[in-house]
Subunit: 231 residues, 2 copies
Amino acid sequence: MSEDYKQEIRNLELFTAMDEANFRALVRGAYVQNFPPRIDLIHENDPPDFLHVILSGSVDLFSVWNGRETSMATVRPVSTFILAASVRNLPYLMSARTLEKSRIALIPSQDVREVFARDSAFAQAIVAELAQCYRSVVKNAKDLKLRTSFERLANYLLRQQERTGDVAFDLAMEKRRLASFLGMTPENLSRAFKGLEPHGVKVDGSRIVICDLAELTRYAKPNPLIDDYAT
Amino acid sequence: MSEDYKQEIRNLELFTAMDEANFRALVRGAYVQNFPPRIDLIHENDPPDFLHVILSGSVDLFSVWNGRETSMATVRPVSTFILAASVRNLPYLMSARTLEKSRIALIPSQDVREVFARDSAFAQAIVAELAQCYRSVVKNAKDLKLRTSFERLANYLLRQQERTGDVAFDLAMEKRRLASFLGMTPENLSRAFKGLEPHGVKVDGSRIVICDLAELTRYAKPNPLIDDYAT
DNA sequence: AGGCCCGCTTGATAAATGTCAACTTTGCGA
DNA sequence: TCGCAAAGTTGACATTTATCAAGCGGGCCT
């Protein structure tokens, strides 16, 4: 692995505080790979051989049951995924596939577990990361259980508005994947966009304009305990 | 706090491996309290003053948004809750109330964070616990997104069957709470029980008998990656 | 024992969401 | 530039789920 990549990984919150020698040990067995779009990286139920770090591109985490499929999250650079499975050495709960051309570092889970056992700074960083992940999924579960699909979309749009800092933005993913992520069908997403028009949302292809932020906020009733990614 | 309580807490997986002196420091500022049924212990968005350890009784974790309420989990002895908020020092995402008379130990979060920073065995135990919690919520989200309410109930019953080791058992909670936990209304739960009768489920009050386990299994299609609590 | 409260059930109805099929639009490669 | 494939949209309809109102029934207090 090149020094550039190592530095990029080192700059991740998960790896900044740890001991240099331990970090070297961690990346010694690691390697970086380029993947074309729509490649399966991980299949749920596989043993967690590698901790994945996405350096460029984007990855979809999804799950399947009984012929149905749902998108659980999108991972973007620079961050890791499937940390929980790696540290506990338990099978992946989600599958992963690239959405676009992506560069991904693979760190053997075995090494992660060994280093984590002896580097307390690393262990602390893992605690912080896992707590963060846990809270994200809890928020997601609250979103699903407490809101209708229209409300989920409205709040999603407000989060994007917040993230981009602009009332006009492009959707970060295909509508069909957004639908799956929000727990609905593509058809229903189409109707939800229509249904939000009276609440200040204009849609043209993947271009979104929130032309009445106050009204959309009134409708969506965003709540930090569901919608704030930071906390 | 009595030595008995301390020992009970010490036996929790979270606390067994840590240094004795650090454990003493942790429980020094802790205290045990008895609560009557239906008492609010924690309100979501409160700062995480205490890590809670439930010694007896049971506690409901729930969330509220826009006048709607949903039950997220039930905590039973002996285990902790709201660990993620404690270690990250971020507001609680869920509220908690006792379901019955309960004895609960309260450990100041400040102490948890301090000890966790210097006791690597404790940090490792926290990692294991958080990873476990994370995986549980992911499974819950998959359950919600991939299954209908009838299917969720069917799989819930199979999990109970597995847990008790008996095809006949009593529901562990009120039906109205079970409905909320499964993400449906009490009325719909009633109909779901009816709907499962042809699939081998007999209901009399809170008494459940799975009289055709094979048929219920065929209908429910349980999956370890959603339904196994252990992994 | 009587009566009342509360949880549960049931039926009727409405709302939310999914399915299917047809059509339109878009992006891309020949 | 054309034409195709895939994504998106739309309408009709089916299914799932929620809501509302009424009634049932057990537990519990007096």
